[in-house]
């Protein structure tokens, strides 16, 4: 039976690497990832290791060993989302990726030889992708995911293709290194089985009598003889990323750095799908205040990193935070793939494009309703607030239409001289806003031409002529 080959990548320091990429961990400083619930230090970086801090210590112990220790909170969901991001970037090299949260990835590489040529090339491609991400990992290659996992757990990276070597190393592994339940491991230890080699030599029927089928399945998989069903990674259809901030942010502009990183990830996401997005929604979470959703819109679909960055920057500048932000969620709304008919992008689109960019920028800073078009009077009523259903173009009254209209007519205070009029308009009997007014053009003592009208004996100021 042809043996498969799987590569196991164990990211043993994922939270700390992510924190370093965010800038929360200063360079060359000791840092640990601390799990509050179990009071354990789970991840230790090299500087901390030099001081003497080990995985499994309590926080007090670690703090006693080192004064200026940076402590990052460990949260499984955040590490899981980090793992998903890694899988998304690895998806560009390999198709069958299986996740084992919180920090392990299995990639099937024997069916990639057809595309890459040999294992060396596959490994280089994967290594390059991960190098960009700046994560530390231990890797091992085996016949099955379980096999590779067991090899990786040794702590030493190895990329072995020779079957014999893999068998030898596997045989030398202690039983504790295998992923079996504790009670089984204890039972095997009491039975005198110390190494995996001895375990694998035992006949399966005997084992089946004493242990349950779970162990048997695991052993078969370990030997590479069976392949239990695995759920493979599927890239999500929408980009969504949640970022846990390592310290609470009070000033909205400081979020810019984290949002830039999310934008970069989104850029990659959209480019792979040949899509663009017109809106981004960011939800800010606070410790004691209700969450605040923010929406940033752009007028055209095409992705542009600098443009999005500027729009977000403008939005953040005017944002008032009610409380410090603990974490936020960043997602794009409805990626739309670029339609083929926008292909003639260059012909006479330059000014239209620039105009849309301008509107996007103005809307981001001033709000959506700051930008409008001039109001068109639909019928003979000189009111800006009335939405009429008729569609009358006022050819005969164009000379008489004022340039600016007040939103609501104001009572007339001074006494202008009447220059033109009256024009009696009785209109609007078909809807609620019936009116019967005499309109005049008046000229006040400063020379301003105003439109005034008389309704029921009262005089009102309606607008100006310019």
């Amino acid at each position: 039976m042809a043996r498969q080959r799987w590569l196991c990548l164990h990211f043993f320091r994922l939270t700390l690497d992510n924190a370093k990429a965010n800038g929360s961990v200063p360079d060359q400083q000791p840092a640990v990832a601390y799990h509050q619930a179990s009071n354990n230090v789970l991840q230790v970086n090299s500087c901390a290791r030099k001081v003497g801090i080990e995985v499994g210590m309590g926080l007090a112990h670690a703090a006693a060993l080192c004064e200026n220790l940076t402590v990052i909170d460990y949260a499984e969901e955040i590490e899981h989302s980090q793992l998903r991001l890694l899988a998304a970037s690895l998806y560009q090299c390999a198709a069958e990726i299986s996740l084992q949260p919180p920090c392990r990835l299995f990639i099937r590489i024997d069916n990639l030889v057809r595309y890459y040529g040999d294992y060396q090339q596959i490994w280089l491609a994967i290594k390059n992708t991960l190098h960009h991400r700046e994560v530390n990992f231990v890797f091992a290659c085996g016949w099955s995911p379980e096999n590779a996992e067991a090899l990786a757990k040794r702590g030493q990276s190895s990329f072995l293709l020779c079957d014999k070597k893999i068998e030898n190393i596997l045989a030398a592994l202690p039983v504790q290194a295998l992923s079996i339940a504790d009670k089984h491991a204890n039972a095997l230890h009491r039975a005198g089985i110390r190494h995996a080699g001895e375990l694998l030599k035992l006949p399966p029927t005997e084992l089946g009598k004493r242990f349950d089928s779970e162990l048997l399945k695991y052993l078969f998989a370990l030997r590479g003889e069976s392949q239990p069903q695995r759920l493979f990674y599927h890239p999500p259809s929408n980009f969504s990323h949640s970022v846990l901030l390592s310290y609470e942010v009070e000033d909205a502009t400081r979020l810019q750095r984290y949002l830039d990183q999310c934008l970069r990830d989104m850029e990659l996401f959209l480019r792979l799908r040949n899509a663009g997005s017109q809106a981004i929604s960011i939800t800010l979470y606070f410790r004691e205040a209700p969450e605040m959703p923010i929406s940033v819109r752009k007028s055209d679909v095409r992705f542009s990193y600098s443009e999005w960055r500027q729009l977000i920057k403008l939005k953040l500048e005017t944002l008032e935070l009610p409380a410090p932000v603990t974490h936020f969620e960043f997602s794009s709304e409805k990626p739309q793939s670029y339609a083929a008919d926008t292909a003639d992008f260059f012909n006479s689109r330059k000014h239209l494009f620039a105009r849309q960019l301008l509107f996007g920028r103005l809307a981001a800073r001033l709000g959506e309703d700051a930008i409008s078009v001039p109001h068109t009077l639909q019928d003979h009523r000189f009111t800006s607030g009335v939405e009429s259903e008729s569609d009358n173009t006022q050819d005969n009254l164009e000379e008489f239409t004022p340039t600016y209209l007040l939103k609501h007519p104001q009572p007339l205070t001074d006494s202008p001289k009447i220059e033109f009029g009256p024009v009696r308009i009785e209109s609007g009997w078909w809807d609620e806003n019936k009116e019967k007014r005499d309109y005049f053009i008046g000229r006040n003592q400063h020379g301003q031409r105003i439109q005034i009208f008389r309704e029921n004996g009262n005089w009102f100021l309606n607008g100006w002529y310019a």
């Binding site: 620039a354 920028r361 103005l362 409008s372 009254l397 033109f420 020379g447 100006w464 310019a466």
Partner: protein, 227 residues
């Protein structure tokens, strides 16, 4: 060979592309002879022009001819106009309403919006209404307007007797019986001049009806007298 080229170069009317002389942009004539003579032929094609005066005395109608001289699909942006802008009246001042957008915002942000609009290079004419603009802000807008080829007209209320701005043209307009009285507060490349009378008439009036009625009422009186 070299001497021939230098002869060509020495000719005063010939210059190289990268030596394009500045200040050769054309002036947009307003159509009113008295005004055009005084402001060196018309409004500058690009740059900031400030007009101080009350709303509604004919300030946009003064610019009617200037607007016809902008390009076909020129984009107009009105920032903080004094009221709701009505498209039906825009045609009267030769502005195509489809190319107009209006921005309404606070006065602090209006200058920012104006600068953004100029820098986007998509705007041909920007009309800005603001309470007060100081020399530094005007200079910024002027630099941006010349660089991005935009005509910016700033309308200020009349009672701001502020110093002249570092802009190509600074006018004050007041309404008089015959039309408008224009005082030039500053003109780059020319002398300021006061009391220029511009016969701007932009609203219909009752004079025709009044004169006709007077004429026919006199005749009616005569008929009544003579029975």
């Amino acid at each position: 060979m070299a001497s021939l080229l230098s002869l060509v170069e020495k000719h005063p009317a010939i210059w190289r592309g990268n030596q394009a002389p500045i200040g050769q942009s054309r002036r947009l004539a307003t159509g009113y002879l008295s005004l055009d003579e005084a402001i060196l032929g018309g409004f500058p094609e690009y740059g900031v022009v400030r007009i101080s005066g009350r709303t509604g005395i004919g300030e946009l109608s003064l610019l009617k001819n200037v607007f016809t001289q902008t390009s076909e699909n020129a984009f107009y942006l009105f920032v903080n106009p004094p009221g709701v802008l009505i498209t039906n009246s825009l045609r009267r001042v030769n502005v195509v309403p489809e190319n107009v957008h209006v921005v309404s915002t606070s006065s602090e942000l209006s200058l920012w919006a104006a600068e953004e609009a100029i820098k986007s290079a998509s705007c041909s004419v920007l009309l800005l209404w603001c309470e007060h603009i100081n020399a530094a802000q005007a200079r910024r807008l002027q630099v941006a307007a010349v660089q991005h080829e935009c005509l910016v007209v700033i309308f200020e209320p009349e009672n701001q007797r502020s110093a002249a701005l570092p802009v190509p043209l600074d006018l004050t307009i007041t309404a008089i019986d015959q039309g408008l009285q224009v005082d030039i507060r500053k003109l780059q490349g020319g002398w300021p001049k006061q009391n220029i009378v511009v016969p701007v008439s932009f609203t219909p009036n009752n004079t025709t009806i009044n004169s006709l009625m007077r004429k026919y009422s006199m005749h009616a009186e005569d008929d009544a007298l003579h029975g």
